[in-house]
């Protein structure tokens, strides 16, 4: 039987990760213009609907069924055979499947920042089903299923730097390019509601404790370290971003601190269970600088990744995955003998495995995302982008029939 303490923590962690998606909705929703706030938030909220259903029906089965190196099988369709009975020294398969579901929900939601303010909502629903099934699920299998090929080459991704952030980040830049720039954003868009951005950041930071400290699947000392390094990386990365901004403009934006913190969180994710606080400092500092530079670079490419998903999540996740290969601490092998793992202890195998994993996953996500969007674009009745008039009036009123804010009086 599972220890109730582990069950308690993993139930809590699952709930925390679920809350990250509303957190993301506010983070993203605050960054766009007011006429698209509902549209942007709904991209996240509806993922809680679609992916929860998909995961129970076939997603979990294809991701974690014992199907081979590349994909799972149909054993767990509809959560058949997914037992809620606890197991000694661990948690039940069902609790594991629930925890994993929350990751599957937030990953595609992350992408939406790239095409916010212009992507068709109906097409997005279809995209959710297709992308999670054909991109997220296989990648998850590769990395986290015991028989996945990336797990097989010895790559380590503690809580999703590869599975979540790299896949989403690459998908984001491809999507942004294909959907095209927003109309009239040449001067940049001021976030319409900074408190929402900060609220989202607070909820994400809070939820990320579940994300990372839950990924060891036990309430043990790994969870404790993961919790600590998560917080440390977020903190230092937020500060670093603030310093960079201050040096170049003399001011320190709330959105900047928030973005830095999120970059730090994305960066530490793959390493959370494998590094100590000093590793976390290194990862957070470099992650923040890298993401900051990426934002500056993106401005030059002309690709309108509206909410900088690639620069922040993609770059953060990729850096973190490589950093795992650098900073991972010694770990006990099956016989309890401590083994060097990271580059700092002189080992290159993990670094090399993680680099291969990142490249493979990035390429796969990029190509598949491209193909999926191409197909959705030409299917009659779908298409990626709203028309100009809808974009000008805002997606809230045209697609959702609502305005974010309605003042009394002024009808």
């Amino acid at each position: 039987m599972s220890d109730p303490g582990n069950v308690a923590w993993m139930l809590t962690a699952s709930a925390l990760v679920l809350l990250m998606t509303p957190g993301l909705a506010f983070f993203y929703g605050g960054l766009v213009r007011g006429k698209n706030v509902i549209s942007t938030m709904m991209y996240s909220y509806v993922a809680m609907g679609v992916v929860s259903v998909l995961w129970v029906l076939w997603g979990y089965s294809l991701a974690f069924g014992e199907g081979g190196n590349f994909i799972g099988n149909f054993d767990f369709i509809g959560f058949r055979n997914v037992s809620a009975e606890g197991v000694d020294g661990g948690i039940s398969p069902m609790l594991f499947a629930i925890f994993q579901m929350m990751f599957a929900i937030i990953t595609p939601a992350l992408i939406t920042g790239a095409f916010a303010e212009r992507f068709k909502f109906t097409t997005y629903i279809v995209f959710l089903f297709v992308w999670v099934t054909f991109v997220y699920v296989p990648v998850t299998h590769w990395v986290w299923a015991p028989d996945g090929w990336i797990a097989g080459i010895g790559a380590l991704d503690f809580a999703g730097g590869i599975v979540v952030h790299a896949t989403a980040g690459i998908a984001a830049i491809i999507a942004a390019k294909m959907v095209g720039s927003r109309r009239g954003v040449e001067r940049g868009v001021e976030p319409h509601n900074v408190p929402y951005v900060l609220l989202g950041t607070g909820l994400l930071w809070f939820g990320w404790f579940g994300f990372n400290a839950g990924s060891g699947l036990l309430a043990d000392n790994v969870a404790v370290t993961a919790f600590l390094v998560t917080n440390t990386s977020a903190a230092i990365a937020g500060l670093v971003w603030m310093v960079l901004e201050f040096q170049s403009t003399g001011r320190t934006s709330g959105v900047g601190f928030a973005t830095g913190a999120i970059a730090g969180l994305a960066s530490i994710t793959p390493a959370a269970g494998f590094v100590g606080p000093m590793g976390a400092f290194a990862i957070g500092i470099v992650g923040s600088i890298a993401a900051y530079s990426a934002v500056k670079l993106m401005a030059k490419t002309g690709v309108d990744d509206a909410l900088e998903v690639f620069a922040v999540h993609g770059v953060g996740g990729i850096w973190g995955s490589i950093a795992t290969g650098i900073f991972a601490m010694q770990m006990a092998d099956d016989n309890g003998v401590m083994q060097n793992v990271g580059l700092i202890d002189g080992e290159t195998a993990l670094l090399w495995a993680n680099v291969r994993a990142v490249v493979a996953v990035a390429a796969y996500s990029g190509v598949l995302t491209f193909v999926i969007l191409k197909i959705l674009d030409i299917i009659p009745g779908l298409g990626l982008r709203v028309d100009n008039n809808e974009e000008d009036l805002g997606l809230d009123i045209t697609l959702h029939g609502e305005r974010g804010y309605v003042a009394d009086g002024a009808d």
């Binding site: 001067r187 100009n388 000008d392 959702h400 029939g401 305005r403 009808d411």
Partner: protein
């Protein structure tokens, strides 16, 4: 002196302001209003989403600038040239109203009329 009030699409504001800048109009103010004309409101959800109503009006922006008579036509041309949502224009692109202003005073200096603009 005259007051020029232009009701325009909110998403054209930046472009219109650039056009005003280009013709040397550097004093103005902007506010958000809701308006209706030939362009009708849209159907919106009310209550818990299962029932709808028609919103009478849509968001518009109102730019106001007070200028001397002499500048009137160039300001109007600047707005007309920048406020349309497309080459052909579309219903709802907006309207310009011109009305007399008898006095202008600059708070800082107490200067009056043309000198205060």
């Amino acid at each position: 002196m005259i007051k020029i009030e232009a009701i325009v699409r909110p998403d054209r504001i930046n472009i219109i302001i650039d056009a005003l800048d280009a013709v040397g109009c550097r004093g103005f103010n902007v506010q958000n209003v809701n308006g209706r004309g030939q362009q009708q409101g849209v159907e919106v959800f009310t209550g818990r989403g299962a029932t709808t109503a028609t919103r009478t009006s849509l968001p518009k922006a109102l730019i106001t600038t007070v200028v001397s008579e002499a500048d009137k036509e160039k300001i109007i041309d600047a707005i007309l040239g920048s406020a349309k949502s497309s080459e052909e224009g579309a219903i709802g692109d907006g309207k310009i109203f011109v009305s007399p202003v008898s006095e202008v005073i600059r708070v800082r200096t107490g200067e009056r009329d043309e000198a205060a603009l």
